[in-house]
């Protein structure tokens, strides 16, 4: 069992490594979403600094006084320019923002939704590529994106309601109702921290469980050419239920990989840049970390696809493993056209 889980993880690595362009493409997508906002912020900072000598300090080290002055007058995007963007604090801020259900600035929320929709679109092609384990080329990739997008979107609408419940009443129940009651008479901070950690574990487990169901629903949509969002979600539930130990094991392996990555970034992160040379070093390290995160994100897709295909293999997959012979798109098309393929 362990071997199978580990095998899926290893196979996932292999599949991601086989398609480095996917990693590069997804990094590029994220960059293209983030870069315009970064340029907009740069304009705000530049305008605020103007010809001031405060710019010299801000350029060579951290000018906290100017920073606070900027923040005091900032609106929109500018309000997110806080010390929490520096180095590893950025990671802390983003995770705590998610698990503490902190509201997002409107601009950032907009960018996040746009990024999620684009990833939703692209994930059909990504899963298809990993399932087929061979180059699908641009046309094949985007065809798969187009075919699966509307199915994924229907699934996402369902997921939206579930997440709404998770981050609405369930979050409120755990953190706004339960946590204060459990800790009401505690006088030791460490005890309260233990309770809060427990609450995070419970809430994260709920989130992760549902995310896993969605992952396998999407995989079944792609691999089995399912059209029904409800049906695929139920199929995802069935798969996870029947293979819960393997799914959980794979989830833990992916989670460990993520924790190792952020731990490495935490250890290496040099904080705020000082000189120009240092700035490029910080940027390079930061981007290496971002590439790593993309890699791990895709590894989740690939390893879960591998696990599914390894655990539930049959001949009529739309996105089947590599055809041995004759490996031709025509044969694949004929195979996919069989009426049973839609099951």
């Amino acid at each position: 069992l362990t071997v199978t889980t580990l095998g899926a993880f290893r196979d996932g690595i292999r599949r991601v490594n086989q398609a480095p362009l996917l990693v590069a493409g997804m990094v590029l997508v994220t960059l293209l979403i983030a870069l315009p906002l970064s340029i907009a912020l740069r304009g705000m900072l530049e305008a605020h600094l103007g010809a001031s000598a405060a710019g010299e300090i801000a350029a060579d080290r951290t000018n906290y006084e100017w920073w606070e002055e900027f923040t005091a007058q900032a609106t929109g995007l500018g309000t997110t320019f806080t010390p929490s963007i520096i180095g590893f604090a950025a990671v802390m801020q983003n995770i705590t923002g998610l698990v503490d259900n902190q509201p997002l600035a409107a601009t950032i929320a907009g960018a996040t939704v746009a990024w999620l929709v684009i990833w939703l679109f692209l994930s059909g092609g990504v899963l298809d590529r990993y399932a087929r384990q061979r180059p699908t080329r641009t046309h094949g990739f985007f065809s798969a994106c187009g075919v699966h997008f509307w199915r994924f979107l229907r699934l996402a609408v369902m997921a939206w309601f579930i997440y709404l419940a998770l981050f609405g009443p369930i979050y409120a129940w755990i953190f706004d109702w339960g946590y204060p009651r459990v800790t009401r008479d505690l006088t030791a901070e460490r005890s309260a921290f233990a309770v809060r950690t427990g609450a995070y574990v419970v809430f994260s487990a709920l989130l992760a469980s549902f995310a896993l169901l969605l992952d396998f629903a999407r995989i079944r949509i792609v691999v089995e050419d399912r059209r029904s969002a409800v049906g695929s979600l139920l199929a995802g539930v069935r798969f996870v239920a029947r293979n819960r130990r393997r799914v959980l094991g794979l989830f833990l392996l992916n989670a460990i990989a993520y924790l190792l990555l952020i731990a490495a970034y935490g250890a290496l992160s040099p904080g705020a840049p000082r000189t120009d040379m240092h700035m490029w070093l910080v940027l390079a390290l930061g981007q290496a970390y971002i590439v790593g995160r993309h890699y791990l994100k895709l590894l989740v897709y690939a390893s879960e696809t591998s696990l599914f295909q390894g655990a539930l293999a049959h001949a009529t997959y739309t996105a089947a493993p590599t055809l041995v012979w004759p490996e031709s798109p025509a044969v694949e098309t004929i195979t996919n056209a069989e009426p049973t393929a839609a099951r």
């Binding site: 994220t30 870069l35 906002l37 970064s38 340029i39 740069r42 900072l45 600094l49 103007g50 010809a51 001031s52 000598a53 405060a54 710019g55 010299e56 801000a58 350029a59 080290r61 000018n63 906290y64 006084e65 002055e69 005091a72 997110t80 320019f81 010390p83 590893f88 950025a90 802390m92 801020q93 983003n94 995770i95 705590t96 998610l98 698990v99 503490d100 960018a111 996040t112 990024w115 999620l116 990833w119 994930s123 505690l186 006088t187 030791a188 901070e189 460490r190 309260a192 921290f193 809060r196 995070y200 995310a211 705020a272 840049p273 120009d276 700035m279 910080v282 940027l283 930061g286 971002i290």
Partner: protein
């Protein structure tokens, strides 16, 4: 004077006897739970007792017996107040503070003001969270006869007329009290300790009990100064002697204002702790079975020794050194700068988590505040410990009216805190806490200096125009009262230091301290000392910073350094010679236009720095809305500054205080936008969890 002074005389005798005894000078630890006293015993006394024999105004003297029932959180108490009319007029009514009624219900003035400031949490409190204090019997003793005045007690609301507020009680007397005459009032009361509001109350088995007994107001020549309890202010009362016996469950550690004289076990599982303190104006106490009790002694070549007693939360074990060192720093630097701490003992209370009792001062006792995870390079708990220990000087000894002029002690003390902190803990770094506020992350890139300590300018900037400081503090807008009280004062004291120099400011503060210890100064008293010691009439300054809510903002509007070109007719009389502006070399004319964007006025320097590092300075009175300076030199200027030495720390916009010919702004903006880019990318990937 009666019974109170009989008791305090006994206490003084005990103190005198004990003064020669061995104090707990060495580092010691007593576990709280289970330390049951088998029999009545005297408590070891501090090595250094009150050393200043100068007569002090003992106006309100209390002898209190109180019993706490931790289960119900009820306190039943009896106090005998011996009060002297120190005014110049006879008075026929007495007024008492009943602070616990501020949290009786949502109609109190305190709660209404909190709601006004946007705090709507009051409605979420449970029935057991509310507090009250009821006067059960009030009698006055005259010529040996005890007269019951209970039925005469009425609630009044001198500040806002709120008929639902019960925080001030008025007691019409049967006979007026003449100037310098004393009266003895016996009050029996019952109260319930709240779930902590405003740093007093209980959580679990931790009790911090302050503002808990019926406390008489301050009678001034103009009448009673006895304000209702307000959300944005603290307290005011007369000096006197406190002789207090507190009964709590046996095994519970008690910390209180003053010195523990005796512990007496009862027959019902309780122990009575007897505390005495002279020449203070309040009494607070705390009890819990969980405290770790540690002691050390502060010693100094020229200052009196002080026994420090630390009541530490068990989870903060390992932080005792930090608490003691911070208290030492306060006693040392405040002592050297302002004057000695005279009491010989001080109790540091490390409050329980979520008790809300941290960071508060009471005579000879204060609450600090720390976290379970307290990084070494962040001045926490040092900052709050120095600040609250410092309040022993500014509040405890120089006892201004915190209802009306809270800035006077809070501002002076916050300024001194930053200065003392800088001596022992500079630089310290900014910290932010994540994951529900539990996990700290230290920003070593953001060191805090004396200027940026407490983010004073940032917090003041947000609140600058809300109130003039001269308005009575209890009438400040509740949401921004602390910014005006603390941060504005810190900024203008820093400014004053830079105007006059530290030596002069230190002499101002030490003179003010010497003259007004054990008294109730008003702002004008401080200003008078400042004028006298500085040898200047600083009224203009105090008009700007104290009597006005105007903001300071000077900035460089135009900064040019260009070759001198002349276009047009350059001929002499009767001749015409037209030239074109073609000169690209020296000499250069540098023009600086400085503007006063704010309403407040302050004389400032203007400085131009040339490319050869030559500096040219002008002095501007800062009165006009703008002014221009020009200079011609063979080299170009590279930088212009208004207020280049940062004298005026109240300037709300410092970015516009300088201008350079070649701006580094684009480079800085690029750098920081790229740092932000990484944050945004990570944010997107974190939310990518959903896909």
């Amino acid at each position: 004077m009666g019974r109170v002074f009989a008791r305090s005389a006994a206490a003084i005798a005990l103190l005198a006897i004990a003064a020669g005894g061995a104090g707990p000078g060495a580092f010691g630890l007593v576990q709280g739970r289970g330390s049951t006293a088998a029999k009545s015993r005297d408590v070891a006394q501090p090595a250094a007792a009150t050393s200043d024999p100068a007569p002090r105004p003992r106006i309100a003297n209390y002898s209190i017996d109180a019993r706490l029932d931790p289960e119900s959180r009820n306190i039943t108490g009896t106090e005998v107040l011996t009060w002297r009319n120190a005014s110049t007029h006879a008075i026929s009514t007495l007024r008492f503070h009943l602070y616990y009624n501020g949290w009786r219900n949502t109609n109190s003035t305190w709660m209404r003001e909190r709601r006004l400031a946007g705090d709507d949490t009051a409605t979420r409190h449970r029935e057991s969270d509310w507090s009250w204090i009821d006067l059960e019997r009030v009698t006055v003793t005259r010529n040996g006869a005890e007269i019951d005045l209970t039925s005469r007690v009425q609630f009044i609301a001198p500040d806002d007329g709120n008929a639902d507020d019960r925080t001030v009680a008025e007691l019409p007397l049967e006979q007026a009290v003449n100037p310098d005459e004393s009266v003895s009032i016996r009050i029996a009361w019952s109260s319930r300790v709240p779930r902590t509001f405003a740093r007093t109350g209980a959580v679990g088995n931790y009790f911090f009990i302050a503002q808990w007994f019926p406390k008489i107001g301050v009678l001034e020549d103009t009448g009673w100064n006895c304000h209702q309890f307000h959300a944005a202010t603290e307290f005011f009362s007369d000096f006197g002697v406190y002789d207090v016996r507190l009964t709590v469950p046996t095994g519970w550690i008690v910390g209180a204002t003053g010195v523990a004289r005796r512990t007496t076990p009862g027959n019902d599982g309780t122990t009575t702790h007897h505390f005495v303190q002279e020449d203070v104006h309040d009494f607070a106490w705390t009890t819990s079975p969980d405290y770790l009790e540690l002691t050390e002694t502060f010693r100094h070549p020229t200052l009196p020794a002080v026994n420090m007693r630390l009541l530490l939360q068990p989870e903060h074990r390992g932080q005792e050194r930090r608490h003691f060192e911070a208290t030492r720093a306060a006693l040392k630097y405040y002592g050297e700068w302002f004057g000695p701490y005279p009491y010989g003992h001080i109790t540091i209370v490390d409050p329980a988590w979520q008790s809300g009792a941290g960071g508060m001062e009471y005579p000879t006792l204060f609450t600090a505040g720390s976290h379970w995870l307290a990084p070494r390079d962040v001045a926490e708990p040092e900052r709050v410990t120095i600040h609250e220990a410092g309040h022993q000087f500014w509040y405890g000894l120089v006892a201004n009216n915190e209802f009306e002029d809270a800035w006077l002690d809070e501002g002076l003390n916050t300024f001194a805190t930053a200065r003392a902190l800088a001596q022992v803990f500079d630089p310290n770094s900014t910290v932010k806490r994540y994951f529900g506020g539990f996990v700290p992350w230290v920003f070593h890139d953001l060191p805090l200096s004396r200027d940026t300590e407490l983010r004073a300018l940032t917090l003041y900037r947000e609140a600058a125009k809300r109130d003039a400081q001269s308005k009575p503090t209890f009438q400040y807008w509740p949401g921004t009262a602390s910014a005006i009280t603390y941060h504005k004062t810190v900024l203008w004291l820093h400014t004053l230091e830079r105007m006059l120099g530290w030596e002069t400011l230190q002499r101002i503060l030490s003179t003010y301290f010497a003259r007004w210890s054990f008294r109730h100064p008003k702002p004008e008293d401080f200003f008078a000392v400042a004028n006298e010691i500085s040898g200047q009439d600083l009224t203009w300054f105090f008009d700007q910073v104290y009597r006005s809510s105007n903001v300071f903002d000077y900035g460089i509007d135009v900064f040019r350094s260009e070759p001198i070109n002349v276009a047009g007719d350059t001929g002499g009389a009767g001749s015409r010679a037209f030239s074109r502006p073609s000169n690209t070399g020296p000499p250069y004319r540098t023009t600086v236009v400085v503007r006063r964007y704010g309403e407040a006025i302050f004389p400032v320097d203007v400085r131009v720095t040339l490319e050869n590092n030559e500096q040219i300075r002008w002095r501007w009175d800062g009165l006009d809305r703008w002014t221009r300076f020009e200079v011609e030199r063979p080299v170009r200027a590279r930088r212009a500054d208004v207020d280049p030495d940062r004298v005026l720390l109240l300037d709300v916009n410092t970015t516009n205080n300088s201008a350079v010919i070649e701006s580094a702004g684009p480079r800085a903006a690029r750098k920081w936008s790229l740092v932000w880019l990484i944050w945004l990318q990570d944010h997107l990937l974190t939310y990518g969890f959903f896909i």
